[in-house]
């Protein structure tokens, strides 16, 4: 007998292998995920294995849905990520894309902060739709996350971040994603957090305008608790606008560094 997790529930099984277990299963499994890995191969079952059998086109109940959505996360990784507390300051091109990626990754606690509403010129790079025009970005993003992963704890605040409120807004978070637009605001937030929140890591974006090589965008561990993602040169200006590909590459650098930090990895 092996004690395994099957579709999120602890199960004792006399099946010796994954394929034997699959044959005993009451409905057809179109997708088989074994310890976070989708496979058609057979594996011997052992205690502690995570198995998910997914039938395509069938809407599972709430508890089963959560476990099936987590099936592609490596189990030990998922527990840490689920406990993670991340705040995103600014929900523009960087922040909106970071929020979507962290939600897909299963980061358990997200705090979304922006003062603005979605307007048409945002749609060239930010993760919003026509249906969001005029909505607060915080509400539009919370709505998307609800559609991506409804099992996360998402808090929002529609407010302009200032020198005065930055620390009280963000203290206690494991990581703050700085995703503002103006360089003065970026500097203000980074300085305030590094000075007053010594346990919070800050992952910033700087330099992602235009259509220069995507390979120039990288993650740099700049200070003890501070990382910069971007080419650190290409500012947004007339003739060098912000475009979806490089902004999204930069956001992905930020999201990956945040994930690494939640997993206890400090190297860039």
């Amino acid at each position: 007998m092996a004690s395994i997790m099957l579709n999120g529930l602890p199960v004792q099984t006399d099946a010796k292998t994954l394929h034997q277990l699959q044959q005993q299963f009451p409905y057809q499994a179109d997708v088989v995920i074994y310890n976070g890995f989708q496979t058609s191969d057979d594996f011997p079952l052992k205690d502690g294995d995570f198995v998910a059998f997914i039938q395509k086109g069938v809407m599972p109940n709430q508890e089963e849905l959560e476990s099936l959505m987590c099936a592609r996360h490596t189990p030990a990784v998922h527990q840490k990520v689920k406990a993670g507390r991340v705040a995103i300051a600014g929900l523009g091109g960087l922040g909106s894309n970071v929020a979507v990626m962290l939600a897909r990754t299963g980061v358990g606690h997200l705090f979304l902060v922006d003062f603005d509403v979605v307007e048409p010129s945002n749609l060239n790079r930010q993760s919003y739709y026509i249906s969001h025009l005029g909505m607060d970005k915080t509400a539009a993003m919370a709505q998307q996350i609800q559609q991506i992963n409804p099992f996360l704890d998402v808090k929002t605040k529609t407010i302009r971040v200032t020198q005065e409120n930055a620390v009280s807004l963000f203290q206690g978070y494991d990581v703050v994603c700085e995703a503002f637009d103006q360089p003065e605001n970026k500097a203000m937030l980074v300085n305030a957090l590094l000075e007053h929140c010594p346990h919070t890591a800050v992952v910033s974006g700087s330099g992602m305008a235009g259509y220069w090589s995507a390979n120039d965008i990288k993650t740099t561990h700049k200070f003890q608790k501070f990382y910069v993602c971007g080419d650190q040169q290409s500012g947004a200006q007339a003739g060098n606008g912000l475009m979806a590909p490089r902004v999204t590459v930069c956001a992905a650098h930020q999201a990956n560094m945040i994930l690494r930090l939640l997993l206890g990895i400090e190297k860039e």
Partner: protein, 64 residues
Amino acid sequence: MKMNGVLIPLERPVLLSELLEQQGYEQMRIAVEKNGEIIPKSAYLDTLVQDEDVLEIVSFVGGG
């Protein structure tokens, strides 16, 4: 003194605010770490940089 990995010899201690101005940094767009400690913006005017110090400076550009 080392600034962002580059050696800059200092003949005498210099105020951080002067050094930043000499090097062309816009003070409202930067964050500075000296010997592993963040320097508050309010302390730029009275922080002395010595020849053995290591400075890391990040200068933000716009866009997000």
